[in-house]
């Protein structure tokens, strides 16, 4: 293993070791190949097999096969533009809204092909919820935000039941105590971290099987981030969670398994402990040690 310290941070790169000529490009060409590590698990909730994603003629994802295990937290990391968000969005067909986007290969949820004609996209999204990068509560009251999903899907019959759904969702998101006295106030008045927890509560309210999170903490301060991370840990008892993050520290903290993407390819998957202490692939090690990316 190459132990040259070529960190991207200034202190090390001005040090004597950095004077050795190393070119990034040649490293990458040598190293990209088949996925290493354990892409498959015994009890998968979702299975992706040979997934390619194209934007018009440009291929964004190359032949990715990956399982998301039941009640596990899978984190996807990688440099910007590596396709991790694109892959996440193809899991609940958010890419459908983009006309030029085309997905091939198969992605299944509990054995059902989500791109099959018999799979309705609305019901898929009720089963695979999504939390976005920027907290995006609807400009409505806190109550209506949570009640939105159950209402449009007609999940509850009575008002009392809806009240209960709202309370339970907020409790699970750790937000109940903070907002129980102002459920009728606009959600946009909450702080950023509270808004993001509200968005998570809104997603839980339709009791999905899988929750996808696309860089859920990138717009939050460290304290709010810590709360969201703790929430993720709690939610992983009941839900399957896939999280895309550009903070590898966050991936290390919250996830059970970590997948490393690079230039649209899945480079390495494995237990987070393993990935962060002794990754097998050189690209993975370079990325998580801050040598590029």
């Amino acid at each position: 293993m190459d132990t040259t310290f070529k960190h991207t941070s200034v202190e090390t790169s001005t040090g004597p070791v950095a004077s050795e000529p190393t070119t990034l490009g040649t490293d990458l060409e040598q190293e990209v190949g088949e996925t290493v590590g354990d892409a498959f698990v015994d009890d998968p909730r979702m299975k992706a097999r040979n997934v390619d994603v194209f934007y018009a003629d440009k291929q964004a994802i190359h032949n990715v096969s990956l399982d998301i295990g039941r009640n596990e937290v899978l984190s996807m990391i990688g440099p910007s533009g590596c396709g991790k968000s694109t892959f996440l969005r193809s899991i609940n067909r958010m890419n459908d809204t983009i006309d030029i986007c085309k997905v091939t290969g198969s992605i299944t949820l509990d054995g059902e092909d989500i791109y099959d004609r018999s799979m309705d996209v609305v019901s898929l999204r009720a089963r695979v919820g999504m939390v976005f990068q920027k907290p995006n509560p609807f400009p409505k009251s806190i109550y209506d935000n949570i009640a939105y999903g159950p209402r449009i899907h007609g999940l509850v019959e009575r008002r009392a039941e809806l009240d209960e759904v709202v309370e339970t969702s907020l409790r699970k998101a750790g937000l109940w105590e903070e907002v129980k006295d102002r459920l009728d106030q606009p959600a946009t008045g909450l702080s950023g971290g509270q808004q993001q927890r509200l968005c998570i509560a809104r997603t839980i309210a339709i009791s999905p099987e899988v929750i996808l999170m696309d860089e859920p903490c990138s717009a939050l301060d460290p304290i709010a981030t810590a709360r969201i991370e703790e929430l993720i840990a709690e939610l992983s008892e009941n839900y399957t969670i896939a999280i895309v993050t550009h903070s590898m520290q966050q991936a290390a903290r919250v996830s059970d398994r970590t997948a490393y993407f690079h230039l649209g390819k899945l480079i390495e998957v494995g237990a987070t402990d393993k990935i962060f202490t002794s990754p097998d692939h050189k690209l993975t090690e370079d990325y998580i040690t801050g040598r590029f990316g």
Partner: protein
């Protein structure tokens, strides 16, 4: 765990990991402490069975060292601890390696105990062994207590104790050397006693190190290679 508040993180699993590391360290410390006491007892009472048991325990200590180190590496890799948490993890890894070496010294003493049991009692040195041994095992115990309760005062007491032990060790050495010169036939048996004393003195030094780790952990000050007075002055200001 009051001052460092290692159990007050937002992340519950982080709290649990730190608590587990602390608990495992204390368990390992308990084993090592027992090893030291039993080795001394085996030596004084020429109990080779007990000595064999002490040596056997070393494997457990070695395993504990490896697994605690792994835990610390995992915490470092996944949690990126900072400040008190970071000092805690660093102090744990250092203490683990000190404890492992204390365990090694205990095994060594046990080996000497077996030798002496076979070749007959050494004529001199038992008083010193008993005396220094008592002080050193109390030092190990106090150092571990200081770590468990994060008590700087207890740690300082250990540092002072070590200086006293060093003096006693020097005088015991002089006496045993004189004895060897007077009676060359006992040299080989007396050497076992001397090596044992030497090991006890090293155990005291290692307990001293652990106490210094406690000071580092609690106060954030690196006090290695300082005398007890200097450490005390640094802590008090």
């Amino acid at each position: 765990m009051d001052r460092l508040q290692l159990d007050k993180h937002t992340s519950k699993s982080f709290n649990e990991e730190l608590e587990a590391a602390r608990k495992n360290l204390m368990q390992m410390g308990g084993v090592v402490e027992q090893q030291v006491r039993e080795a001394i007892k085996a030596l004084i009472e020429a109990d080779s069975d007990l000595a064999a048991k002490v040596i056997a325990k070393d494997e457990r200590v070695n395993d504990a060292e490896v697994s605690l180190d792994e835990e610390c590496v995992r915490i470092l890799a996944r949690r990126h601890p900072a400040a008190g948490d970071l000092r805690f993890v660093i102090a744990v890894t250092r203490t683990v390696s000190d404890l492992e070496r204390i365990g090694d010294h205990a095994s060594r003493i046990a080996n000497h105990a077996i030798n002496l049991a076979e070749s007959g009692e050494a004529p001199r040195g038992y008083v010193e062994i008993r005396h220094i041994g008592e002080r050193v095992s109390r030092m190990v115990q106090n150092a571990l207590n200081a770590f468990a309760r994060l008590e700087v005062d207890t740690a300082l007491a250990v540092l002072h104790e070590d200086e006293a032990v060093d003096l006693e060790y020097a005088s015991a050495m002089r006496e045993l050397i004189t004895h060897m010169m007077e009676d060359p036939r006992t040299i080989s048996r007396t050497l076992d006693v001397i090596w044992s004393l030497r090991s006890l003195e090293r155990v005291g030094d290692l307990a001293n190190n652990i106490a210094q780790h406690v000071v580092y952990l609690v106060e954030g000050k690196d006090v290695r290679h300082n005398s007890a007075e200097e450490v005390e002055a640094a802590v008090r200001d």
